[in-house]
């Protein structure tokens, strides 16, 4: 016993040992709230559990074969990828705004604050406000559009318009965060690069594409990956604004998981877990691919020591 304690002490003296001790609390939280539920979800997806929590039976891969034949699942998958369009829109918009707001003048700082405000607002509150603004009967946007001659647009009840509307709302909410991260990235680029390129006769556009953009790859990569992972899991806006309608055109994977497991009879938790497992594998695959691609580009283009 004393020798065990002694060797443990020796272990803690080394930096590596102490480091493990410091991450232990975070790891335990991760274990309880992420890893254990994840493993549970995988286990449940192989059973036939409903919300009545009757003792479940092992049913093998039947939930997975069911979702392969389920039209609504493929529709949800398609809608999730459709929603991914939010990421390039948001990143490009954030990038353009960041380039214009990167200097530290008073006006630019004020503008940055304004653009950042939607990010800190509650997503549910924003969704509620936007669904009122866009309501076909009582919203002011459709009203003003009819005043200038456009037909009565049903932003959230028209099957073709609902998803683009939600995408634009999400872009509006998120681009502030992207903008801030990219501004930090731009401000870390040494001014000497720009001066040197100016002496060589480069104008603003060339500077942007040859200096700013390549050196922003780490920040851009971070924004793209985090936003992609977030977008694939979108739920709040859709739940508040359209609940997956109209005609399931805004039903993404997480919305479908909620509908199947918690919203309608027969509250099939196993089937919902199977969809969640598929979503997990999808996000993991996309994150690994994106990460790989962007880290390779990083090491090739950066010449900093």
């Amino acid at each position: 016993m004393p020798t065990l304690f002694r060797s443990f002490q020796e272990f803690l003296k080394k930096p590596k040992g102490a480091a493990y001790l410091f991450i232990l609390p975070a790891f335990i939280t991760l274990l309880i709230f992420t890893i254990i539920p994840l493993v549970n979800a995988v286990v449940i997806s192989f059973q036939n559990l409903t919300i009545f929590l009757a003792p479940p039976k092992f049913v093998g891969l039947s939930n997975f074969s069911r979702l392969l034949q389920d039209d609504r699942f493929w529709n949800a998958l398609k809608n999730s990828f459709y929603f991914l369009l939010e990421v390039p829109f948001q990143v490009i918009l954030g990038l353009l705004v960041a380039v214009f707001l990167s200097k530290n003048t008073l006006f630019r700082k004020f503008a940055r604050t304004i653009f950042f405000v939607p990010t800190i607002c509650s997503l549910t509150a924003i969704a509620i406000v936007w669904s009122f603004l866009l309501d076909a009967q009582i919203g002011i946007f459709p009203y003003y559009l009819t005043q200038i001659g456009l037909p009565q647009l049903q932003f959230l009840s028209d099957p073709n318009m609902a998803m683009p509307t939600i995408i634009l709302t999400t872009v509006w909410k998120n681009f502030g965060m992207t903008m801030m991260i990219l501004i930090a990235g731009i401000q870390s680029i040494p001014n000497s690069y720009y001066e040197a390129s100016q002496m060589d006769g480069a104008n603003g556009v060339v500077q942007f594409f040859r200096i700013t953009l390549p050196l922003l790859i780490p920040s851009l990569g971070f924004c793209i990956i985090t936003n992609t992972i977030g977008s694939l899991q979108v739920f709040d806006q859709i739940y508040v604004m359209t609940q997956g309608g109209p005609l399931h055109t805004t039903e993404t994977l997480v919305m479908y998981i909620y509908n199947v497991g918690f919203s309608t009879q027969p509250f099939d938790l196993s089937y919902a877990s199977a969809i969640a497992v598929v979503l997990f594998l999808l996000i993991m695959g996309i994150s690994l691919m994106t990460n790989n691609y962007l880290t390779r580009r990083e090491t090739v283009d950066i010449s900093e020591g």
């Binding site: 002490q9 609390p25 335990i28 919300i51 929590l53 009967q137 005609l247 918690f262």
Partner: protein, 455 residues
């Protein structure tokens, strides 16, 4: 010194770890519990299952007093009346029986109750609709209440037979009535009728009349619609048309879908024409949104339940109530209700206390109070024959209309599944472009696969 330091750091790390573990109860808010009714003490909310020992029984508040916990989803204005009744009951029964009520929205209710029953943290009393009573009884989640009348001495013949039949499954009584209603009456806006040149006192009595009037009442330039066709979060109004034309959804004897029968095809053609070609309804509109449109005077007619009345009154709509129009096979309206049910695992003492509360609820005095305040037709004969109730025009009208009401898809466990996942989506599809036969055939095969998977 170094040894002391390492011991201290070890203790601090342990403290951090414990502080991360402990709030598994508080960092997980108990599934978005709605704050309990303003007058109820916070003890009404059930503690999360993770940290509390399974307690189907509540310890008595004082010597001899039994506290029964009651969960329901009466979040609307009728919830205020319910709270008043419960408070009065508690005042009359201090020291004997106390009712602690917890009101939450319907989706939270559906997500909390089944797991709570499975983990022995369920309340002693819940209010369920008919379809859920059937599902819960099949899952063994609620108790058989067939001994209610013997145990309490309540007069069974005072109840309308339909009010007891509706929650009687396999010869056992699983629910005691709380309220009964016909969830489909025709509500129409008399002012819009007059403005369109129609007689404001003559609502449509057949489906053909409904169509011609709806077209006259639709005016796209004013944003006005003739007949509202709910796409979700509403009673199953389409049942009026399906059954009225002699069709049905499921052939119970053969456990097969009959959704694509010829009679139904005509009905769905009719609905598609109304919605897509004649544009008499706002598209993809759910319960609350449709109520808003009606209350703002932009909708002329819809089928809805008696809960619509307070909203129409408060928005000064000059409305009329009538029986739904008839089809080629007659008139059909949906008989629905809210039942009291007792979750499995409730001990005998609490069950007896609940029985006393249910006896109070179904007394003539309380039945009259609930009916006249809420405006729902009564199901107790003694209340129906009360002169004040008879004099109430709205209630008499509703009670009369309810005479033809019958349950929709009775005894079918997957009824809720079919309504939510097949029929309402079909209604939504019919409001958009497409071939009716394709849509209906697809829906019919979906009904079949649901029936198969529930074997």
């Amino acid at each position: 010194m170094k040894k002391l330091l390492s011991v201290v750091s070890l203790l601090m790390a342990a403290a951090m770890v414990l502080s991360a573990c402990a709030p598994a109860a508080t960092t997980q808010p108990p599934a978005a519990t709605q704050p309990p009714a303003a007058t109820q003490p916070p003890a009404a909310t059930q503690p999360p299952a993770a940290t509390q020992p399974p307690a189907a029984t509540q310890p008595p508040a004082s010597s001899g007093a039994i506290t029964i916990t009651f969960w329901n989803s009466f979040t609307g204005s009728d919830g205020d009346t319910l709270k008043a009744i419960v408070n009065d009951y508690n005042a009359q029964n201090t020291g004997k029986i106390q009712v602690e009520m917890d009101i939450m929205s319907a989706d939270v209710f559906n997500q909390k109750v089944p797991p709570s029953i499975a983990t022995h943290t369920a309340p002693n009393l819940i209010a369920l609709n008919v379809a859920d009573t059937l599902t819960y009884s099949k899952q063994g989640s609620i108790l058989d209440l067939s001994d209610f009348f013997m145990a309490t001495g309540v007069n069974k013949s005072d109840f309308l037979p339909s009010s007891l039949q509706i929650a009687n499954f396999g010869g056992k009584q699983y629910g005691i009535p709380m309220q009964m209603f016909d969830s489909t009456n025709l509500y129409w806006n008399k002012d819009l009728f007059k403005a369109a040149g129609l007689d404001p006192e003559k609502p449509p009595t057949t489906f053909d009349e409904l169509e011609t009037m709806a077209v006259k009442l639709t005016d796209a330039s004013k944003g006005q619609f003739g007949f509202g066709m709910f796409a979700s979060a509403a009673p199953q109004w389409y049942a009026v048309l399906i059954k009225g034309n002699g069709g049905d959804v499921v052939d119970m004897a053969n456990n097969k879908s009959v959704l694509n029968s010829d009679a139904n095809m005509k009905t769905f053609d009719y609905l598609h024409r109304l919605a897509f070609t004649e544009k008499v309804t706002p598209k993809s509109t759910g319960g609350v949104a449709m109520d808003n449109i009606m209350q703002s005077g932009k909708l002329a007619m819809y089928f809805n339940g008696p809960w619509a009345i307070p909203g129409l009154k408060s928005h000064n709509i000059n409305y009329g109530i009538a029986q739904v129009p008839a089809g080629s096979a007659g008139t059909f309206a949906i008989l629905d209700g809210t039942l009291f049910a007792i979750p499995a695992g409730t001990d005998d003492a609490h069950k007896a206390a609940v029985y006393q509360f249910l006896k109070y609820w179904n007394s003539t005095a309380n039945g009259k109070r609930w009916s006249t305040t809420i405006g729902f037709p009564p199901y107790l004969n003694s209340v129906i024959n009360d002169p004040e109730v008879k004099a109430n025009a709205t209630i008499s009208l509703l009670a009369n209309n309810a005479k033809i009401a019958a349950p929709w898809m009775p005894g079918l466990v997957s009824a809720g599944n079919i309504d939510a996942n097949v029929l309402f989506p079909l209604i939504e599809q019919l409001q958009n472009d497409g071939t009716v036969t394709d849509m209906v055939n697809k829906a019919s095969s979906q009904v079949d696969s649901i029936l198969q998977s529930n074997k």
